[in-house]
Assembly symmetry: C2
Homo-oligomer: 237 residues x 2
Amino acid sequence: MKPSVVTIEPSGHFCDDCAVRGAAVCSSLDAAELREFEHLGRRVHFDSGETVFSEEDITTSFYNVLEGVMRLYKLLPDGRRQIVGFALPGDFLGMNLSGRHNFSADAIGAVTVCQFAKAPFGRFIEDRPQLLRRINELAIRELSQARDHMVLLGRRSADEKVATFLLGWRERLVGRNGLSDTVPLPMSRQDIADYLGLTIETVSRTFTKLERHGVIEIIHGGISLLDPARAEALAAA
Amino acid sequence: MKPSVVTIEPSGHFCDDCAVRGAAVCSSLDAAELREFEHLGRRVHFDSGETVFSEEDITTSFYNVLEGVMRLYKLLPDGRRQIVGFALPGDFLGMNLSGRHNFSADAIGAVTVCQFAKAPFGRFIEDRPQLLRRINELAIRELSQARDHMVLLGRRSADEKVATFLLGWRERLVGRNGLSDTVPLPMSRQDIADYLGLTIETVSRTFTKLERHGVIEIIHGGISLLDPARAEALAAA
DNA sequence: ACTCAAATTTGATCTGAGTCAATTGGCTTT
DNA sequence: AAAGCCAATTGACTCAGATCAAATTTGAGT
């Protein structure tokens, strides 16, 4: 929540070495289009805890996450927070109908995004239906994830929520270095609680319980999944 | 849950008198396109309680709701149910990436849908980016609603959930006959409970409490909103 | 109107997760 | 290495909403 000091690099030919070129919205563009496209985007860096955009902000940009993790959340007037998702490299943010973002986004650790001004991006899309189709795909995938998360929030116990989260997070990180039993958790316990609709104490107690039962080991900056099968069983229940 | 006896009318010029022509996906089509489009769709009728499609079904069709209300839900292996939304006339269903529906849909009362076979619909979209843009709009709107619902499920009390639901449902029915304080509730208490992440008993008790406090009156087939301001206050809290 | 089944309401009790309150542990700064 | 700070853990207790168990009410079919 420090003042937002961002570093804006000059636009240029940086798609070439972009880590998410194949995964992100860009995957729908051919080489020539990509060359044109890269003039629209600028790499912007955010430090840990900085807010990339806020819920009621007028949407002026779209964002493609290049590096790092972000928390996406909504606040109630009295301060209660619900994290609606975590964004990882390759995720595309900023689509909306109202002209305002309908959630806020903070950097968890250092984050780099590819930022596109709304108007030129809109014009670029105009005559490129395959890019629109790609964006639509991403929206539909998110919608499916959102529905899964509703089931978790509305109908699962604390144990099930935590087990499901750990397995789901591990799965999302597969792109990194394959499926690993060492699962880094860059977000705080409070973030996890606000994502799962629990309190920080319940999350902590559940982690401890899972460790006592030999399902996980709590390690520095994450957990190690000792018994994936048992975790799956807990999550499915 | 009776066997699915559906009535399929012959395809023909029925878009002319379609109640949702202006609201649905069709709103992005001009007169000539609409004429071509109507040959793709068939009106299909479902009786109360019938299942229109199930979660793991291979997607063979898309649906445009014409009349009635549907519940959209997901089930856990042990039978717990989360309703992820209610569909009303004008809503478009069936989009997905996996090739399977990722939720189930039942008719609540009699329902009429406009059913499109997947392949011809896909071909029709192909060279009509404005229809794709319309579908994208609908997906983004749903995504926004889904996030709001996550906040409700994860962070709101039973009283807030019920008040928010009643106001939100009233709002969704504005298209019908304007904003009315008489709010029909075609779905059962169990449906409301499964939508709000509560039990049927808690929903019933909360209705009774709201009535005791003069906020609503429970009437046949719905409620009457006596004190909208107080309901708003409860929902905002 | 009469019967039966299902939906809803109401009551009594229980419990999973929340709340409140210390500790403990890990970093950072000096 | 001591001090200070914030995040995480642990413990004791509470409570909102779940569960269990009856009534009621509603509705469809005869």
